[in-house]
């Protein structure tokens, strides 16, 4: 077990971090907008699960922004090769429509497919490294969306709803399970160096949950990766000593003030919040310092190559954050907008390989590293996107959005490697068998964390809101 993991009992400090306590807990929860909710408590006897024993202690989610082209990566369809260049006619009388263009001709993947691993998973030549780890992965091969538009689709895959304003998966996990450490945030987001994804911070919002469950963005490529961790602009009047003396004086002022206001819990919480802030200031820089890693490890993540450096750095940081107790880490590949992401409307031949080259080695490296350190046993790794792409062309060699089906995979804690669930139609146009939605993926992730997705609910504006809305079934066949 990892020695860095902190005491897991959720004591008073944890409660204060999450909520503060002004009125009684119930009233406070109401003030926070969580109308009837006393924040739940993870239970030590359930391996820190909430409703049943947890298999996973933490999650690393890899989100491919833009709609990764499933039939060019994992969803091998011989029919596309046979009917390349023909008019697309699924022959079921259903109207073929595309979000941003008129449907073109059937296009075969311009990449070679081979079977890999003991499980014989088909993977295209774009993922040579990931292909080597398919026996650790479980694939959802028919993961559908309810829209073909980036904004709502990204909200859906992150928050379970098409409209904005709902808490995302990471926020729910933070809310449901709380912290593993006082030294770092519970939920961390590592955006692409080229920019934030579609919906920007809307994808990692806490919605109506307390703000502390919002994803803390760590911009790995910036000199100051965490906003306001250190004084902005490094003003001259602040020195190490002025900070030490200042925090001590502030604590004295605040304690004196609190003494005049007995039983005002929020005053105490604020005093403690400065102590927690100091811990964060102490531990975050060390956590993010990947120079401490050996050359071999850095190479494993592709840090020695410009192409893989950005994504690799963030994968390596994710491992360091995970070992030090961060509960949920989300790594984004691709910024919003029409290029530098997985939204390959113009030219699959060139646009897609640029994305796979940047991510293939780092992802495989992350999996190998987690496994070698024993972390994969209780860390769940998830690879997903907001929707798939069309089997026919857009323009000459591009592909349009396809909410009909996409692929996601899970690996690590509690996952039965080498399995698949679901199958798309012969063209990878729509989900055909064992169709899943984000609800099922989310339910499965929560399940592995020891949470019953139907029980994790918070009242907001008259409705008991869940991550999975009124849907969701745990995909049991991919569980170990």
């Amino acid at each position: 077990m990892n020695p860095n993991l902190q005491n897991e009992s959720l004591g008073r400090r944890e409660f204060l971090w999450r909520a503060g306590n002004g009125f009684g807990a119930l009233a406070l929860a109401q003030l926070l907008g969580a109308e009837d909710a006393v924040p739940p408590r993870a239970r030590t006897e359930l391996n820190c699960g909430l409703h049943h024993p947890a298999k996973a202690r933490r999650v690393i989610q890899l989100f491919m922004n833009g709609g990764a082209s499933q039939m060019d990566l994992f969803d091998y369809k011989p029919e596309l090769f046979k009917r390349h260049g023909q008019k697309f006619d699924p022959g079921i009388g259903e109207r073929v429509e595309a979000a941003t263009s008129a449907p073109g001709m059937v296009m075969k993947p311009p990449f070679e497919f081979k079977q890999h691993g003991h499980c014989g998973r088909w993977v295209s030549s774009l993922f040579p490294h990931i292909a080597g780890r398919v026996d650790d992965m479980a694939f959802l091969m028919a993961l559908a969306s309810k829209t073909n538009v980036h904004g709502p689709a990204s909200y859906m895959m992150n928050t379970g709803f098409l409209a904005p304003g709902h808490p995302c998966l990471g926020a729910w996990v933070s809310y449901g399970l709380g912290r593993l450490t006082d030294n770092l945030p519970t939920f961390v987001v590592l955006p692409d160096a080229r920019g934030l994804p579609y919906n920007q911070k809307g994808n990692f919002t806490a919605g109506f949950l307390p703000i502390t469950h919002q994803g803390t963005a760590i911009n790995a490529h910036l000199p100051a990766p965490i906003a306001n961790l250190a004084p902005s602009g490094t003003p001259k009047f602040i020195t190490h000593e002025s900070e030490q003396d200042g925090l001590a004086l502030l604590a004295r002022l605040n304690r004196r003030h609190a003494a005049m206001h007995p039983a005002h819990g929020q005053l105490e919480s604020r005093i403690e919040s400065y102590e927690l802030a100091a811990r964060l200031q102490m531990h975050a820089p060390e956590t993010l310092d990947i120079a401490k890693e050996s050359a071999v490890t850095q190479k494993l993540y592709g840090l020695d190559d410009k192409v893989t450096e950005d994504f690799g750095r963030r994968c390596l940081m994710a491992r360091r954050l995970a070992e030090r107790g961060v509960r949920f880490i989300q790594i984004w590949s691709g910024a919003g907008g029409p290029k530098n992401n997985w939204d390959n409307h113009s030219d699959i031949h060139n646009e897609l390989p640029a994305m796979t080259r940047a991510t293939d080695k780092p992802i495989a490296g992350l999996l190998a590293d987690l496994k070698a350190r024993g972390l994969l046993e209780d860390t769940l790794v998830v690879w997903s996107t907001e929707f798939g792409r069309m089997p026919f062309t857009q323009g000459a060699t591009g592909r349009d959005h396809n909410g009909g089906t996409s692929v996601a995979w899970l690996a690590g804690a509690g996952i039965k490697g080498g399995t698949t669930f679901g199958e798309s139609d012969p063209w990878s146009w729509k989900a055909a068998e064992d169709k899943t939605y984000c609800y099922d993926l989310h339910a499965t992730i929560l399940h592995l964390l020891g949470i019953d997705h139907e029980k994790l609910a918070v009242r907001h504006n008259g409705i008991d809101r869940r991550l999975t809305d009124v849907h969701g079934e745990v995909v049991r066949s991919i569980l170990a």
């Binding site: 979000a99 829209t147 098409l162 904005p164 306001n228 604020r270 029980k455 008259g462 008991d464």
Partner: protein
């Protein structure tokens, strides 16, 4: 319980529900739920002798009665320093100055507090404070949200409307009506149009509603989701009901059938969100309407109008105009007949019989046309470029772009003596004028030497245009001149000239665009007596056309507000509908399972209020909204009046009498003091809906004025203080804290209104959403200093500092702000650039105000805490400031609990 009470809404329309959720239709007639009952004015309870001494308003009697029931008694009145700070923040959102505190503490007048309240309610700061609360409730922000998070440059007039309405103390019923249907209900007051910003305040999915193909299911789903946001905003805000829970099935807990929900969607079936033009001056629309009617009559060759052209009065006017005109002789143009034409990028340029040049064939991204021509004219003062239409061009041109537009980056004019082989020199253009400039693409851009800027004529496509380039020095040589004119078109995207013609003139300068066409110039050159009837008519028509255009141009420009109505400016494929869209009840909320068509209506569960709107013209979308506005603001609608009374109470006590201000249904809280809530609602409604009277009533009550100090015995009985045995404590909300910092440091700028302050650097993004960088903002710029209500909120990328202080996610309706405390918030208050810079200002202020360190510390404490420092505090602060400087000390004071909390 949690599962039992779950409202099984599927918030995605194509929901596939695993179980059948068919709910029996609620028995509306039998509904006895408290919030739906007619309002009744309860008599205030009788008071004990002790309570009579304590009570100041009827409110106190209701509170005292409940406290007595639990053998509790109210807390003593807060001290004056606490009281003034509390009431300042509650009514105007700012701290009192040390002088105001001192004056109030020393004021012997027994009515000093009431006088203070009146002063605060009369302050323009009051409207700013309460507008911000309202903006939370209706999730107002100034970008679209979603993946195309575009800036809405015209959203702010709604915010100014709110501030003005609260400051004017607009009767609440009227306030409600204006925000739903100002355009329909008060057409003679077009200045109220910004009120409709409410309906458009929330996020808008531009990709789905504007950019994807119109014939997709995704577009139709997005329309339902869009109306859902409007319905939820209106009904949550005004009636505190969760009607949006009835999207997929009948409401599980409240008597709201699914039909009601879709009937409410039908109310908004004809609206779209967009920029809505309006006039602030009520006279303007009439004048504009009349002028536009005349213009239309001219265009359709209206017979009555044509018959009136010979009227003597008009003829006299025309004669006077002509005399004036003849003082400036018309410019005579000589058309240049091209000898050679060349396209740098291989477009086909063909000379036409009228000496124009037509472009066809390959359409390059960018191009430069070079045209050579000979002329014998000397003393040439100007060159004219005519852009002509042609049937071969998209939309008839005059450009080659699909939208008929073109962009002329630069024009270069050269002239050399005929036959001489010398390097032709570039002629200097002194002035350029055009008959029309596209916004941001003026003719000046064609002579500014910058190929990145250009002239354009969009949206005035499909008609000819011209530009005149006046030369600095006259040109033309003895023995003839070779003219070489290069037209650079470097914008890209095929924005090229489709057909053009060049002319020169020797008319004396200035040579500017003339309103006279060649045909008209010919008429004017003909003596009046010799003109044909047709010529006379054409002259009169021209005169009228010009007169109307001038009159229209002289009217102040219309303003715009981002709002939702049936009539907004089109934006791509998002445009007003000729009629309302059909809205269907969607079975299980699924777009593929449309049921009956819905007809506009309200809730069916309110006794005495009609459920369906009886509309004379149901196809009139404005009438639908007007009916809902009347329904909401009706005196018999108990929800509306209870809802607002509770909201006001909420903001004065940190919690409403009903602690779920957006939900008065069975899933919401129950009123802690139901009779008091009704009494307040009736008092408010029957007193003319004056919010200021309601504020005054509440903040002058004894219960409001109580101390917030803990009382162990009372806490045992009522830990949550539902019975209000004391006032509640709270952390300052994000804007109050921010504004308080600015006031304390002396940097607060009280300038009101207008476009919001963007406290970030903004640059073009890779796609629609701009890049927003909070780190690059200059905290000494004027945009840094106004009140928080004027701060621009970027929906998907809010200010991290304000975020940390629970400034809500503007994608959510937020009736109740969170009041959290956490480590990231501490870091924001310690290290954010705003606080650091303000600490420096604070230090500069106290240094200027006082000489010795002790005096400076005393001043700082007065400003931040409205009190003198205790001896020990002064000693500690002195030691710290002496060692680390005043700025560091000021930073600590701004971080202190005493500054940040309100008692």
């Amino acid at each position: 319980m949690t599962q039992l009470v779950q409202c099984l809404i599927a918030s995605t329309l194509a929901a596939v529900l695993l179980h059948s959720h068919a709910q029996p239709a609620p028995d509306v007639a039998k509904s006895d739920w408290w919030s739906l009952q007619p309002l009744k004015r309860a008599a205030a309870p009788k008071l004990s002798v002790a309570d009579t001494k304590w009570a100041r308003t009827p409110i106190d009697a209701f509170i005292a009665a409940r406290l007595n029931g639990k053998q509790l008694s109210p807390s003593p009145e807060a001290d004056r320093r606490t009281l003034i700070r509390r009431v300042y923040f509650d009514l105007i959102g700012l701290p009192p100055t040390p002088e105001a505190v001192a004056a109030f503490v020393a004021d012997k007048n027994p009515q000093a507090y009431e006088a203070l309240v009146d002063t605060l309610l009369a302050s323009p700061r009051h409207g700013e404070r309460w507008a911000r609360h309202w903006m939370d409730a209706v999730h107002f922000a100034e970008t679209h949200g979603h993946d195309q998070d575009r800036i809405r440059p015209n959203a702010w007039p709604y915010r100014d409307y709110l501030i003005e309405s609260f400051n004017q103390d607009k009767p609440y019923g009227r306030f409600v009506q204006e925000q739903i249907a100002a355009d329909t209900l008060f057409p003679s007051e077009p200045g109220l149009t910004p009120a409709l910003g409410l309906l458009a305040a929330g996020p808008w999915d531009e990709s789905s509603l504007r950019d994807i193909r119109e014939d997709t299911l995704d577009r139709e789903i997005a329309r339902y989701i869009d109306r859902d946001d409007i319905v939820a905003t209106v009904m949550s805000t005004f009636t505190s009901t969760t009607v949006h829970c009835a999207r997929c099935h009948n409401h599980k807990f409240d008597p709201i059938p699914q039909q009601d929900y879709y009937n409410l969607q039908a109310v908004f079936a004809g609206v779209g969100r967009g920029n809505v033009p309006y006039d602030a001056d009520p006279q303007l629309p009439r004048m504009r309407r009349e002028l536009l009617a005349q213009q239309a009559a001219l265009q359709r060759r209206d017979k009555a109008l044509f018959d009136s052209l010979a009227a003597p009065a008009l003829q006299t006017e025309i004669a006077a105009w002509e005399r004036n005109l003849s003082a400036t002789p018309p410019v005579v143009w000589a058309v240049l007949e091209p000898t050679t034409v060349n396209s740098a990028e291989g477009a086909t340029l063909t000379k036409q019989p009228d000496h124009s040049v037509l472009s066809s064939g390959k359409r390059p991204e960018k191009d430069t046309y070079t045209i050579r021509a000979h002329s014998d004219l000397k003393g040439v003062t100007a060159v004219r470029l005519e852009l002509l239409t042609d049937d071969s061009l998209a939309l008839k041109g005059p450009g080659r772009q699909d939208n008929g537009n073109l962009h002329l980056s630069e024009i270069q004019i050269r002239a050399v003596p005929r036959g001489q082989k010398i390097e032709p020199k570039l002629l200097i253009i002194a002035h350029a004028s055009a008959d029309f400039d596209q916004t941001g693409w003026t003719i000046r851009h064609a002579i500014d030497g910058n190929p990145a800027t250009a002239w354009g004529i969009y949206p005035q496509v499909g008609k000819p245009h011209q530009a005149i380039f006046e030369l600095k020095e006259t040109a033309g040589h003895d023995g003839g001149t070779l003219w070489t004119i290069a037209l650079e078109q470097q914008h890209g995207g095929g924005h090229l000239i489709g057909r053009l013609r060049l002319s020169i003139t020797t008319s004396p300068r200035p040579v500017r665009i003339s309103p006279l066409s060649d045909a008209l110039a010919k008429i004017l050159a003909t003596p009046a007596a010799q003109r044909t009837d047709e010529q006379k008519r054409d002259l009169a028509l021209h005169f009228l056309r010009e007169k109307i255009e001038k009159a229209l141009a002289a009217l102040p420009a219309q303003r715009q507000v981002f709002a939702a109505t049936g009539n907004f400016l089109p934006d791509g494929s998002h445009k007003p509908m000729p009629t309302v869209r059909p809205v269907h009840l969607l079975k299980r909320g699924e777009i593929t399972k449309p049921g009956e068509q819905a007809s506009p209506g309200g809730l069916s569960c309110i006794p005495g209020m009609p459920a369906r709107f009886d509309l004379a013209k149901p196809e009139d979308e404005g009438a639908r909204r007007a009916a809902l506005a009347r329904w909401l603001s009706h005196t018999n609608n108990p929800l509306t009046w209870r809802s607002i009374a509770n909201r006001v109470w909420h903001h004065h006590f940190g919690r409403g009498l009903v602690d779920t201000p957006n939900d008065f249904g069975r899933m919401g809280g129950l009123p802690s003091h139901p009779e008091l809530l009704d009494w307040l609602a009736v008092e408010f409604r029957d007193g003319g809906g004056s919010l200021k009277k309601l504020h005054r009533l509440i903040v002058t009550s004894a219960v409001y004025r109580q101390s917030s100090q803990h009382n162990a015995r009372a806490a045992q009985v009522d830990a949550d203080n539902r019975l209000l045995w004391r006032q509640n404590q709270s952390r300052l909300d994000a804007e109050s804290l921010r504004d308080a910092v600015l006031q304390v440091t002396g940097r607060l700028d009280l300038r009101m209104g207008g476009p919001s302050d963007q406290q970030f650097a903004v640059s073009p993004g890779i796609h629609v959403t701009p890049n927003v960088d909070y780190n690059k903002f200059d905290w000494d710029s004027p945009a840094a200093r106004r009140r928080g209500v004027y701060r621009f909120i970027f929906r998907t990328l809010p200010d991290p500092f304000m975020d940390a202080l629970d400034c809500p996610d503007a994608s959510l309706l937020t009736p109740v702000r969170a009041n959290s405390v956490n480590a990231l918030q501490a870091l924001a208050l310690l290290n954010d650039a705003f606080i650091l810079r303000q600490s420096e200002h604070f230090a500069a202020r106290i240094s200027a105000a006082a000489k010795t360190l002790d005096e400076q510390i005393a001043t700082a404490c007065q400003l931040a805490f409205a009190r003198a420092p205790e001896k020990i505090e002064r000693e500690e602060m002195r030691a710290y400031a002496a060692k680390h400087g005043l700025v560091n000390l000021c930073r600590l004071l701004l971080n202190s609990n005493e500054f940040i909390f309100l008692d």
